[in-house]
């Protein structure tokens, strides 16, 4: 049993830290909101800087321009970035989509998109949820029909993160009109600049824009801008779900550790001698450590190609619910100051607790609700019988 880093891995961690010292994260302009998952704000400039180091593609096979580095290097990169509060918002989307393109994408997609991802010039949104297809994703109605060399895409996607500032979307659409449920679905790669795309912001309860809804009206997508073959969309989605959930949450533990550090500093200066606060913070530290251990267990399984559905879903549930507890504790410790926004007179800790507190309430919904995750653990990892589906 060895939880340690090898010599070259430790050297890489040092390299990332040195990079962050030389290029302080706060010097990069942010073009999109920090959604609180731990990956900071959306910054194209920072994404390009990561690309410039070769870190966006370091895990790819060499034939795609990567360095074939083991998964541990990505874990190290994400942990260091999250611990520093760097704005790497688009990174997990880049990892997920590039992985999918390498596994399932057409040669055209691999040629057109991968080099742009590697440079940090391409970022992605996910087009899965629809107004009437949330937890019941298979109720989706977005459709695409083949017309010559193009798919003609019509539909309405919603809750897509950063869709207005990303370059491409992966859109799940029904390509076989005679099909139902999980059959006849295809994953299309859609360029935001195509005619017929209408991407509209949704202001969230934080007062900022993170989500978008996307109206697609006769959007013509080149025939080979799809993942795999037509009809394989759901299988691919399912296959990629564990890793998507993993890469969407892995940095939550180091992020919460950073938040905890802020709260410890606050408690030491403002609430010294408050034994209750001391115990609550120490307790939170144990839970964050346990969350990190669970993510590392899931990572180890994923890297070996072993089933990790239960571990990943459990880690996601724990990450999101623990995040809510830690941020709620922060609000409690800050008392009346907690509600003051960044920039307000008397705001504490740069208003970060207030912002992350608010964002945390979306996390147990996004990427599959905590209820969906728990059902997944019960049915797919523990082997309990699935609930009967209501007759349509």
């Amino acid at each position: 049993m060895d939880f340690g880093l090898s010599g070259p891995e430790q050297a890489f961690a040092d390299e990332v830290r040195a990079f962050l010292r030389a290029h302080p994260p706060e010097t990069f302009p942010e073009d999109g909101t920090d959604a609180g998952y731990g990956s900071g704000g959306h910054s194209r400039a920072f994404t390009r800087a990561l690309g410039g180091r070769g870190w966006l593609s370091m895990g790819w096979p060499r034939e795609h321009g990567g360095q074939a580095r083991p998964m541990t290097y990505l874990l190290i990169l994400l942990e260091e970035l999250a611990a520093a509060g760097a704005p790497f918002g688009p990174l997990s989307g880049c990892l997920q989509v590039s992985d999918s393109i390498i596994r399932n994408g057409s040669e055209t997609l691999q040629r057109e998109i991968l080099p742009r991802v590697a440079r940090g010039d391409a970022t992605f949104w996910q087009g899965y949820s629809e107004p009437d297809a949330g937890s019941d994703l298979l109720a989706l109605t977005t459709r695409a029909r083949l017309d010559g060399d193009h798919w003609v895409l019509d539909g309405h996607k919603i809750w897509s993160s950063h869709a207005g500032i990303a370059t491409y979307g992966t859109v799940l659409a029904r390509t076989d009109p005679a099909s139902t449920r999980h059959r006849g679905l295809t994953m299309l790669m859609v360029d935001n600049r195509l005619p017929g795309m209408d991407v509209r912001p949704i202001r969230s309860l934080t007062g900022q824009v993170y989500h978008y809804e996307i109206f697609m009206d006769g959007v013509r997508v080149p025939r080979d801008w799809i993942m795999g073959k037509p009809g394989e969309g759901f299988g691919q989605l399912l296959k990629g779900l564990d890793t998507d959930r993993f890469w969407g949450r892995f940095y939550k533990a180091p992020f919460l550790r950073r938040i905890l550090g802020l709260l410890v500093e606050y408690a030491n200066t403002v609430r010294s001698g408050d034994g209750g606060a001391r115990r609550q913070l120490a307790h939170a530290a144990t839970e964050i450590a346990a969350l990190r251990a669970l993510f590392y267990r899931a990572a180890w399984l994923i890297e070996r190609g072993l089933p990790a559905t239960g571990e990943v879903a459990a880690a996601k549930v724990m990450a999101d619910e623990l995040g809510q507890r830690v941020l709620s504790l922060g609000m409690e410790l800050l008392g009346p100051y907690g509600a003051l926004r960044a920039g307000s007179p008397w705001a504490r800790l740069r208003g970060e607790i207030e912002h992350q507190y608010q964002t945390s309430w979306g996390h147990t919904l996004a990427g599959g609700t905590s209820e969906i995750q728990r059902t997944t653990i019960a049915v797919r990892a523990l082997g309990l019988p699935a609930e009967p589906r209501a007759r349509a």
Partner: protein, 369 residues
């Protein structure tokens, strides 16, 4: 990073699981819990023959020279079987402390501990109930006479020796005494956990210089590593027990039919089982990470052990308590094994430092003043 058990650990786990399934089923655990003097002398002999008490003892002193990881892999199985024994007190904590002292004491005692012929109890806690050097009140001097009282001493009725930590002139001081020394009497306490715990009274007991374990005043420093390993062992025991509770609950949810389908087909039960899985897995890997830190001699190992003990206790207790709700009325009955696991977890959560003690260590480690 490699989260794989070594081949020898896997072998140890498999053989331990097979042995305990056959020789220590829940009915046996139950009978031992109900018997006021319950001690499985036969099983203790058998596990001694399997070499378990000697796992942490060097080969040249009759043990098998196993690693911390080997011991924890075994203890996870002991927890899974709810095996009641002085194993952690004697074969983990006392053995580690005696090994640390080395010399003639170790050479004299360790071979007998390895064979299971001697069992060492731990007399640490006093009325405060806290495992804390500042809470020690019983005066200890060697040479000298001991008078005082220790509480919550497990398995004093079968122990041949007792490790006593008291307040010496130079600080906390450890003695290793034969249980038969004149003036030592054990009075049984009656615990809901089924563990056999005692008040140990010392009435003008003679303490000789060679009863000292380590130098006077060094007791806490000497026992520190043993306590840390003990805390990890209790964590492993809780993880193993919680794993078994998860299995019992999932099995019950699969076969118990209400309203025309297994209760595990209802979301309310599914989600409760999912939470058990989360708690067991997160506790297990946190414990193993701390074990790795301890074995690798990492600078943060103390904090990692405290973190693991505090979290494993909380998570395993949550598993036991939620388990009762999943199991329904049958789990409330004495004949059902669920309560045995719950009580074992509860006892383990209190031994080797409770949440208050470990959270204090964590608080200091994260920089709280």
């Amino acid at each position: 990073m490699d989260l794989l058990f070594s081949p020898s650990q896997q072998l140890l786990q498999q053989s331990a699981r097979a042995f305990l399934q056959q020789r220590c089923p829940p009915e046996r655990v139950q009978a031992l819990a109900l018997d006021p003097r319950g001690f499985a002398a036969d099983l203790w002999k058998e596990i001694a023959a399997l070499g378990w008490p000697g796992l942490l003892i060097p080969v040249e002193l009759g043990g098998s020279g196993g690693s911390v990881g080997d011991a924890l892999a075994l203890v996870e199985e002991l927890g899974r079987a709810c095996f009641p024994s002085p194993f952690i007190a004697s074969a983990v904590v006392a053995t580690t402390a005696v090994s640390a002292v080395g010399g003639r004491r170790a050479q004299a005692l360790l071979p007998a501990l390895a064979l299971g012929e001697r069992i060492c109890a731990l007399a640490m806690l006093e009325e405060s109930g806290r495992l804390d050097p500042d809470a020690l009140a019983m005066p200890v001097a060697a040479p000298g006479r001991l008078t005082g009282r220790k509480l919550f001493v497990s398995d004093a009725h079968v122990a041949t020796d007792v490790l006593v930590l008291g307040r010496g002139a130079a600080g906390p001081t450890a003695l290793l005494l034969p249980m038969g020394r004149d003036g030592i009497t054990a009075r049984p306490l009656d615990s809901m956990t089924g563990d056999k715990i005692f008040e140990l009274d010392f009435a003008d007991v003679q303490a000789r210089p060679d009863d000292l374990l380590g130098a006077p005043g060094d007791g806490w420093a000497l026992l520190g590593p043993a306590f840390r390993l003990g805390a990890l062992a209790r964590s492993a025991e809780m993880v193993g027990a919680a794993q078994r509770v998860l299995e019992l609950c999932v099995e019950h949810a699969r076969v118990r039919v209400q309203g025309g389908r297994p209760i595990g087909g209802y979301q309310a039960i599914q989600h409760a089982c999912a939470d058990l899985f989360r708690d067991v897995e997160s506790a297990r890997w946190l414990m193993w990470e701390a074990a790795w830190q301890l074995e690798a001699g990492r600078p943060d190992a103390d904090a990692a052990v405290a973190t693991a003990k505090a979290y494993c206790a909380e998570a395993a207790l949550r598993v036991a308590r939620r388990g009762h709700q999943i199991m329904g009325a049958i789990g409330y009955s004495e004949e059902h094994p669920l309560h045995l696991f719950h009580k074992r977890i509860l006892a383990a959560s209190l031994d080797m430092g409770d949440a208050t003690l470990h959270l204090d260590t964590v608080a200091r480690a994260i920089g709280l003043s």
